[in-house]
Structure formats: C-alpha cells, structure tokens
Symmetry: D2
Subunit: 292 residues, 4 copies
C-alpha cells in the first residue's frame, strides 16, 4: 500500500569534533520503532541537512538503515544545488539500502520551472526506489508550481509529495490535480488531522520525534474516521507544533529530546540552541500530552 503513517524527521546528533553520535541516534531509532512509527526520515530540515558535510550525511543514513533492520522503511533526504550532486547522493543512499528518497532542491539563484522539472526527474531516473518531492517555500528559493507537480506525477517512481508551505488549500489543489498518481504527506506546518481529512496518507515531521506514541494514536484515529476523538488529541498536540514554528526547528526538537534523556546536543553553530523560554515551552507541551 506504499508509504503511509507517521515518519518522524530525525535529528542529527553530532559531538563537538563533528562525529555522529551513532549510539544516541541508534537508540532514538529503536525507541521510535517500538513506539509504532511507520517509517524513519533522516536528513529532513529538522535533521539539519543544510549544515552537514557529505560524509556526515552518508554516515547518518547508514546508521538509520542499520538501526531499522528492515522493520520500517527509511526515506533519506537528498538536498543539493546541482543535479549532478543530487543524483550522486541518491545513488549512494539507494546502494546503502534506503527505501525511498526525500528529494529537496536547494538553490542560490532562482530556478525556472524547467530547471525544477529537470532536477527532480533526473533523480527519479537515477534510482529505482520511490521519490517523495519536498517543497518548503519558507526556507527555499525555489517552489514547485502545480503544473510542474502534475508533470512530475507522471514519472512512475515519483509517488509522493510533502509540502511545508502552511497553505493547506494548496494540498487539496494538488490532490485534485494528481489523483491517484501521487500521495500527499503533511508537514508540521499543516494540521495533520486536516491533511488526513482531505485525503493525505500521513505526515513527516519533527514533532513526531518527541511525541511518537501520540502521533501514531492520532494517525490511527484519523484512519478509523474517529474525527472527534482525533481532534481532541490533535488540539493538545498542536501546542508542540506552535513551539516548533516559533523556534529554530532543529533546536526545538533537539531540546525536547534532551528533556527526554537523549544526548543529542545542540544544533550546529552559528545556530542558537533552544533558549530557556523555549525549553520551558517545550517541556510544558510535552508534559501536557504525556510525553514527559
């Protein structure tokens, strides 16, 4: 039935010398799988992909695949400014055994629609695993227009999209346009229950990293059509997303995981760690939903 459900965006725990803290990351993966998540996503925004070297990225994906041991799919984030780099990353991640690629286009100068199409279709052609298109107009200089999304949806292994725009109506427009050819995942900028209502298949988001059981429960309620119960839970979970929107995403999730006993550290400098106010806000949000 394809990818679906709750895919936490994993943080990238790194020590002061730049080494990936393999044991911390592996324990986090194991605990998330035990909590029932449906997949794992290393190297999303929350995973600080934009702040990591290629050897660091490669190591993280390797650790996550090894930890998952095939129990849940691993969708690895590929982000590049050039097509050639994106293709090389994707091939290596497929070789390492990932189940899918979360494809991100970075850019410095604006990219034309044709350039956007060329980038994503080149990645799709280079690998055999499914692609999840990622678009985040807030942090990226390019955007995926509806016509380009439609064109890309006709490529056989481009089967998913994750839109981080906060404009939920855009997701419904995409669903109306691409029909069964492409499935939609929510981001933390959308209300997951709303995206499930309009036809989404799940969500990929940082907050699921610190509230995995509650996220899975919310997903199950939505799947069963228990919308009132889902909204009761969703309302309480939303405070976490609000904190997430207010602070640096990586800082927020790393701060929450530290509270839960994972020594994931702070985001890489010059990013600021979660400030005391933010720690307090995340702590309260976690306690309120029983995640601390």
């Amino acid at each position: 039935m394809g990818f679906h459900g709750v895919f936490p965006y994993l943080v990238s725990p790194i020590d002061s010398s730049g080494e990936i803290k393999a044991d911390v990351l592996a324990r986090l993966c194991e605990d998330l799988i035990q909590a029932g998540v449906h997949g794992l996503t290393p190297l999303g925004s929350t995973g600080e992909f934009a702040y990591l070297s290629w050897p660091q990225r490669r190591r993280i994906v390797q650790i996550v695949i090894d930890s998952a041991r095939g129990r849940v799919p691993v969708i690895a984030g590929v982000a590049a400014t050039t097509t050639a780099d994106a293709v090389a990353q994707s091939r290596e991640f497929e070789r390492l055994g990932c189940s899918g690629i979360l494809a991100i286009l970075e850019s410095y100068f604006p990219v034309s629609d044709e350039g956007v199409f060329a980038y994503f279709s080149a990645i799709a052609k280079a690998v055999s695993v499914p692609l999840v298109l990622y678009t985040n107009p807030n942090f990226q200089r390019s955007d995926l227009s509806l016509p380009i999304i439609d064109r890309l949806s006709h490529i056989s292994n481009i089967g998913y999209i994750k839109d981080a725009s906060s404009n939920t109506g855009r997701l419904l427009a995409i669903i109306n346009q691409v029909g069964e050819r492409m499935k939609v995942f929510s981001a933390s900028a959308h209300i997951p229950a709303c995206v499930m209502l309009i036809g989404g298949v799940g969500w990929m988001a940082g907050p699921a990293c610190i509230a995995p059981r509650q996220s899975v429960e919310l997903y199950e309620l939505c799947r069963r059509g228990s919308w009132e119960a889902a909204m009761n839970l969703q309302r309480r979970l939303w405070a976490l997303n609000q904190a997430f929107a207010k602070y640096n995403l990586a800082a927020c999730i790393k701060g929450g995981l530290e509270l839960q006993g994972y020594a994931v550290g702070a985001p890489l400098l010059p990013q600021a760690p979660l400030p005391p106010d933010g720690i307090e806000e995340v702590r309260r949000a976690l306690v309120a939903i029983g995640a601390l």
Copy 2:
C-alpha cells in the same frame, strides 16, 4: 447561538455613473436567503470596499439590510485607516440596523500592536452589536498577532474572527488560545471543511455568493459530522476557490454572477474584468457543481 453558517461576501453592483444597482443587489440578497444562507456580508474584500466612496458604502449596507428584512443577520464591513473614520462608519451602520460589524484595519504605514489594539477596541466600544475581526496579511499591511487577538477576545462584543491568511494552523492556534471567548469563521483561502473540523462555526467568503446551495449543504454535512460526505462535496467545490485565488476576487465572483444572470457588471476601473480564460474556468467550475 450567535453567528454561524454560510455568510456570502456580497459583490457591489455599480453602474457606469457610480450608482448602486439596487434592484440587482436586492434580487441577489433575496435569492441567497432563499438558498438557505445564514447571513449576508456586504463590503468584504469581494465587495470592493477599498474602491467605494462612503456614500456608496452606506447605500449598499442600507439596501442589504432592507432586503434581509431581519430574516438573516447582516454583518457590514467597516474599513478605515483612521480610528475616527472606523468609529463613525460603525455607528452609522448600527443606526441603519446591521446585526454585526466586520472590522477591517487599512493602513499605509505599518501599525504597531498597540495601534492595532486601539483601533479595534475603539470600534467595539462605539457600538453594541458584535464585532467580527478581519485579518488578511496578503492585502493589508497590518496583521493581528496572537497576543493581540487574545487581548481583544476579552472585550465583550468582540466575539468572532475571520482570518484570510491561508495558514489553517494559525486558526487552530487562535482557537486553542481564546477558547469560548471568540469564534472562528473560515475565509475562502482556507478549506471550509477543515476549519469546521478544527472547531470553526462557518465561513464568510465570496464563492458562497455563486454556490449558495452547495455551500449550505457542505455546512450541514460538517455540522452533522458526516465528514466523508462533506469531503466529497468539498473536493468539487474547491475548484471554485482555486479560480478565486487565481484571479481578482471581485472580478471572479462578479463574472460568475453574470453567468448566472445577475447584471452585476465588472469591478471598478482600473481593476480588470475577469478575462475570457477566467470566465471559462469559472463556468466549468459552476457547471461541475450544478450551480449553472
């Protein structure tokens, strides 16, 4: 139980000499009431408030109140750059017999949070009817921050908010913050069914002007908790909102009403009328939902 349900944003039909076409507007109001709408809203964005003189605005509100004859509430749009002007408009609309005020802050220079609070609280103090706060960060230079919305929610006759930001998560944050003190209406930039799911009480929007029966049906399905049936209808109605987002709002709704036989004319110059492509898109969208 307060304002709730479907409030079409009325267009402002004006002839070439600047006269309001009273008969066209009155017939539209009558037909909308017959179609079951729960209220009428003259002088929203779709009503081209920003393009009308004060005598024209006053005349429109008078016609709508006369047409409604108390059968449904009339919530009149008040928009001004100065507090004094907003207070004067509001008092006059209350004297004319409106049921509520849709309060809009126009600005040229940026307004501080204190200025925003002072503006809306002065209107609330000047009238006894309920206020609906309106915010549209796309077309206005001011925005209502969450702390200011919270402060305003403690004023007794500020009971509603309509946010036209397209960020549905923001509505859930507002609901979580203000609880029972303030009720939320959707705008056409949100998916109405999603806003109903998260706790909204209805919507105020231009498309309801050209699809009133379908809008009322959608509202009833949401109220009954028939979410699957609601989404079936919502999906088909969304094409209308997409056209609405693509073209000038007033041009789009006026174009649709012309297709339905209302001689509402074109938007005021230098606004462009709906282009042939847009007319065709609106026509197809109306036919598809049985509204033409």
Copy 3:
C-alpha cells in the same frame, strides 16, 4: 525649465476635531518659501494622504495654493484606488490652481500593467498641468515597471517621476530609457546628491520640511558641480533620512516641526506619535545640521 529643485513634502496639521490648522500650515509654507525651496508638495506620503477625507485633502491644497501666491509651484498629491476618483480629484485641484499633480495609484488587489497605464494616462488626459508619477513599492501593492514608465513618458504632460524604492540603480535605468521625455526627482529613500549626479533634477521629500535651508544649499552645490562640498553636507543631512526611514514618516517630520515651534500635532490615530527616543534622535540630527 520645468519643475526642479527642493520640494518639501508638507505635513497635514489637523486638530482633534478633524479641522485643518490653516494658520500653522500657512506659516510653514511661508517659512519654507523664505528658506528658498523651489516648490511645495501637499498630500505626499508624509502628508498622510491615506488618512484624510476628501474635504480635508481639498482644504489642504487650497491653503497651500493660497499661501504660495504663485511664488513657487504647488504640486498636489492625488491618490485613489479608482480611475474615476483620481480624475475627479485632479480636475478639482487644477481648478483650485495647482501647478502640477503628483499622481499616486492606491490598490487593494494587484493591478496589471495595463491597469496601471490606464490609470495614469486617464489622469493625464483629464488635466492640462504636468504630472509627476509616484511609485513606492514599499507601501503600495502596485509598481510601475520600466516598460510602462516608458509608455507613459510619451504622453505629453507626463513629464516627471518620483521613485521611492531605495533602488537608485533603477533611477539610472529609467533615465537611460526615457531620455529627455521625463525628468527624475529623488525621494528620501535615495541619497539626493547621488540622484543629482546621475541626472536627476531635484527631490521631493519629507526631511526638506525640517531642513529647508540645508536642502537648498545641497541642491545648489550639486547644480554647480561642487561634488565634494555637496557630499560634506549630504553626509551630515543623511542622519535625518535615517531617522525618517526608522520611524513612521509623518510622525518623524511632525515631531521635528514641533521641535522647531510649529504646532502641527501628531499623526492621525491609530498611527503612533514619534516616541521619546525618536524625538531625541530627530533633535540631535537637527542640532547637528544647524536646523535647531
């Protein structure tokens, strides 16, 4: 030789009942003329045009024309969202005896290039006095593209443009494009000496209201090609423009004039008056250039 030199943007002094303080405005006009300014501009941004009713605007233009008594040209600001309103305002100002029109396009919805052209050309056709096109992308939702500026420059009584974008390179592109057909005035967002260097003919700006003698001196130095002396003066004058960019424009100039003994009052609510810090900053800037 056409309009040239220093045109202060006049503030609009209004008492608490909404009456224009005619004596204060007349004295300011007289003093500015005595200081050597080359013209007067009521109802620019600094003049809070967006916050005034039509009777207030009409009265202000009348007072300024009466005060000038033909000694310097008066270029009156016309701002509207509809073509019809702009044409009516312009005709009335011409009837009152203004020497030129500063034409401003207000909008709520985005305006197409054709709409922009139609608006300005309709004003030009309606009057016989020269037009100054005004564009301010920071505070307005429309902008004048280079091709539209070029088309408008071929209309005989559209002879000037004032661009408030802060992008001085855009002014050189305009000058290269329109040649002798249109002359360029600087705004306070540009460095006047730079605009004079690249071929401008003067400036229309709020700060000239509180530093008229220094502004005229700067203009004379630029005209004579004494660029080093000009820059010595310009450097000191720039602190005033920086304060101007930091605070609400009307608040800043009204605050400075109050310090100089003109009872112009505060900007209209909900605009905030200049805060104590701003008053101190403006005072220091005025003292430093000998304007207080």
Copy 4:
C-alpha cells in the same frame, strides 16, 4: 593603502566531468590583470560558490593565486552554513596564499544577530589576512544589521564590506557609522560612480569580468573627481548591469565571456544557460561600450 579599485568577480569554468578548466581560468586572470584590474575575486555569487564542491572551490582559488603571481591581491570567497566549515575554508585559503577573505554567511534557518556576529568574528580570529564582509539580502536568509556591522568593524582584520542590497542609502549609513574602521565596496546592484561619490573605495562585481578596461577607466575618473566624465561612461556601462540584474548572474557573465572568446561554458545544471534573448542583450551592451 589597502584594497581598492576594480575587483572582477571571476566565473568558475567547469567541464562536463566536473573538472575546473584551469587554462581558461588562468587566461582570464592574466587578461584581467593586463587590463589593469586592481584585484581578483574567485568564488563570489558570480563564481557559483553555492554550486561547487569543496575540492572544486579549493582548486579554483589555487589556480587564481597561481595566475596572479602576487601582481594583484586575490580575495577568495568563503561561504558556509556552519562556523566550523567557514573557519576551515578560510584557514586553507590563507595557507594557499590569498590576500584576503570575502566572508559569506549561508543559512537555512534564520540566524540571530548574535549568531551572525559569532560567525564572522570566528573567521576573523582564525586568519591573519583582512576580511571583506559580504551581505546579499536578496539571495541569503540572513542580513547584517547596522549595529552588528558596527560591532564587527571594531575587529582589527575586518576592514571592508560589500553590500549587494541595491539600497545605496544603506551604504552611506554604514560609512557614517563606521568611519575609518571599515571601507565600502560597491556591488553590481549599486551604481559604482555613486558609491565612489559617497566615499566607497571601489567595486567587486561580475560585470567587471567582461568590461575590465572600461571599469578601470571609470574608477580612475571617479578617483580624479572627474564626475561628469565618469557619469558619461557610467551611463553606458549601466546597460550591462541591467542585463546582469535581469538574468541569472553566472549565466550572464559566462555568456558574455563566451562571446569574447573564453570557453567558460554554461552555469551548472539545473541553472539555465543565458537564453538567446539574453545573449543578444549582452552582445549589444558589450558592443556599445567597445568591449566586443
């Protein structure tokens, strides 16, 4: 007397296998030095730093330093999202023999003022060569505020700033603030003659790569205070900057160099090469100034 004059932003010629075309780059450097430029800047925006791997960047800096043979200073671009990466790049470029560092802050999440200060001061501390701060609010998510620029100007080897904002008034504000502590270079978004007039010391820009003799001539005229002659030349040179602002910067300069006989190739995919219209526009601009 420190860095001054014309520093062309070098393009990065790369073959289809990702190899730097050393001979093409070396010939370009030699010809620019023969044309009289005052320095060379590899890895600016025009140099596509955001699209190159670390080995490619390192190789380019090496080639440029080798080509310059000490005849003119080489200021190498350092761009990173993390402080650690920026420090490592800077140290290596100093080891290779560069004369200065052009320091660029890349970011994915917004950076606080403290983070911005920490990033640049860490680079300054890590090397002994002078730093040129670079800021480009159009293509970067961070910006250097005036207070942070002031703080950084007190660090001894931070001696220059290049602001690519198009807001020339901001440069004068910086000059007024930092006095002799920091010198200002123009970018191609500013009019170089204007920046020289207000006190700048030169410019670092892509167009100087294809019009080096004309750029040096303009610089000499400005230095001599021959402002009228300078403006005559500046006006004609500006057409090149306009093309530069209209198309992808790297595509534009690479396209111009190809016309001049340098086999620099196209920008890296998915960037588009200069389209036929753009080639024609650049050709006309080069012919008009005698650069083709």
